[in-house]
Structure formats: structure tokens, C-alpha cells
Amino acid sequence: MQPTTHDAVQDALAAEHAAVWTYGLVSAFLQQQAADVAEGANAHRARRDATERWLRDAGQQPEPPAPAYLPPEPVDSASSAVAALVVAENDACAAWRGVLERTDDAALRRTALDALTVSAVRATRWRKVAGLTPVSIAMPGAAG
């Protein structure tokens, strides 16, 4: 497996760490969407754990999470909380698309497509809550 694949998976792991942290940060502001917040948090924790396992199995040391992350704007309300979740999911989309572009391994591609897809769907759900248009992004994970 070429080093770029490992780098891409480490990037995806970093995005999953950030998403787990963000879901933890916002939960106090989104009581009305508690079920969706819990679903997203659990999904990203499971993905993070699976990604760490994949890296260890590939003989790599998984990068640890940062002590804290900088949301795009301070999270102090329901709307800024939703905005932070949209960014976290979009970042995960971009990172997993990056994995797709750097591996020929069929199993890893399946994993990356699944991660890209579920993050894109959750980004859409949060964009809907925020009242953003268009509700969905045409090419999730693509730059620009």
C-alpha cells in the first residue's frame, strides 16, 4: 500500500476526530434534535474507531485527536451549532473522497464511499435544519 493511501486515511481519521469533538460541543444547544445529534455522534465514533483499527492493521500509528478544534464561528446558539455540524460533515466528505482518490483497494473504497455518503446525507439533514438552499450539495467532498 503506497504511503499516500495511509496519509489519506490519516486525514480521514483527523476529520472523524474533529466531527466527534464537534458533536460533543454542540449537543447542549440542540436539545430538540437530540436524537439526530446522538446518531451523528455515534456514527462518527464508530467510524473513528474503525479507521484507527484499519491504520493499525496496516502497520501505521493512528494520529491522536487534537486537544481542541476551532469551529468556523463560536458555538453559542442552535444556529451556530448547526453551522458547525455542517462544516464537520463537509470536512469528513472531503477527507473520505480523498481516500477514494488514493486507493485501489476495493474494501477501503467501499468504506470510503460509505463514509462519504453518510456524511453527505447528514450534512443535508443539518442544512435542512438551518434552512440553507440548496438543501443538498451536488458533489459532496469535491473542492469548489
Binding site: 462519504l116 455518503t117 446525507v121 435542512k128 438543501v135 459532496p140 467532498g141 469535491a142
Partner: protein
């Protein structure tokens, strides 16, 4: 690495295109180059866009039109110098939707398109995998948006 893959692909296409010149006199005509597998995704995206317009799902119409455009750009990039009969020109006429179109048909079409792109993924070179992955995930997003 991506660049090298693209180059060798072009090399293969060139070889395929020039082969008839060398062997035309002695052997049966060689197979034409196989159709680009992305062409099917382009067709589906155009059809979905027309169907979405017909049922008033403008966001879906515009997203699927963007999918068609991005995929066609990759098809054209991969085979710019082969004006063969199998390659559809970029400026194909608009697709007409089926009679009495419904939102249920559109949902079914998007589900099929998500699956179609996902199933193509394992066979693609890396420089196409991101594009097709985004199309598949984009269809899943559109389904969520329509809920």
C-alpha cells in the same frame, strides 16, 4: 501518480486508435474502443434531470445536470482525439421525461443512480473514483433533501 495514470490511459487509446492503420490489410477490423463506462452515468444523470424538471424538483434537476456535466467532462478528457461513432458528442439534445412523471419515479431513479455509481466504483482508476463517489453520495443527499 494520477498524472501518470492519465498519460498511460491516453497512450492506450492512441494505440487502439492507430492499430487499424497497421493491420487493416491483413486481419479483420479490430474491435472499436469499448464505450466509456461513465457514459452510462451521464445518460442517467441527464434523464434524471429532465424527470426532476418535469415534476418541479428544481434542486434535483440542477444537481443531476451538474453531475452530467462533470461526468461528460471526464469522458471528453479521457478520449479527446477519438471521434468514433461510439462517443456521444457533448452537446447532445435534451432528454425528454417519461409521460405522467411522478416524484416516486424520481426517488426510484435517484436510488438507482446512487447504486449504479457505487457499483462502478471498484473498477475505476483512482482519478475517477473521487468523481464517481461524489456523484453517488450526491444522489443520496438529494434523496435526503426530498424526504
Amino acid at each position: 501518480m494520477i498524472g501518470r495514470t492519465a498519460l498511460s490511459r491516453r497512450g492506450v487509446l492512441l494505440a487502439v486508435a492507430s492499430a487499424p492503420l497497421a493491420v487493416a490489410c491483413t486481419t479483420p477490423p479490430p474491435q472499436p474502443p469499448p464505450p466509456d463506462p461513465l457514459a452510462e452515468l451521464v445518460r442517467a444523470a441527464r434523464a434524471d434531470s429532465a424527470l426532476a424538471s418535469a415534476v418541479g424538483a428544481n434542486e434535483v434537476a440542477s444537481a443531476r445536470a451538474e453531475h452530467a456535466e462533470r461526468l461528460q467532462a471526464e469522458v471528453d478528457r479521457a478520449a479527446p482525439a477519438v471521434p468514433s461513432a461510439s462517443a456521444a458528442p457533448s452537446g447532445t439534445p435534451p432528454v425528454s421525461p417519461p409521460p405522467n412523471p411522478t416524484r416516486e419515479q424520481l426517488v426510484a431513479a435517484l436510488q438507482a443512480a446512487q447504486k449504479q455509481a457505487g457499483e462502478l466504483l471498484p473498477s475505476l482508476p483512482t482519478h475517477r473514483a473521487g468523481l464517481v463517489g461524489s456523484v453517488s453520495a450526491g444522489c443520496a443527499s438529494l434523496l435526503e433533501a426530498m424526504r
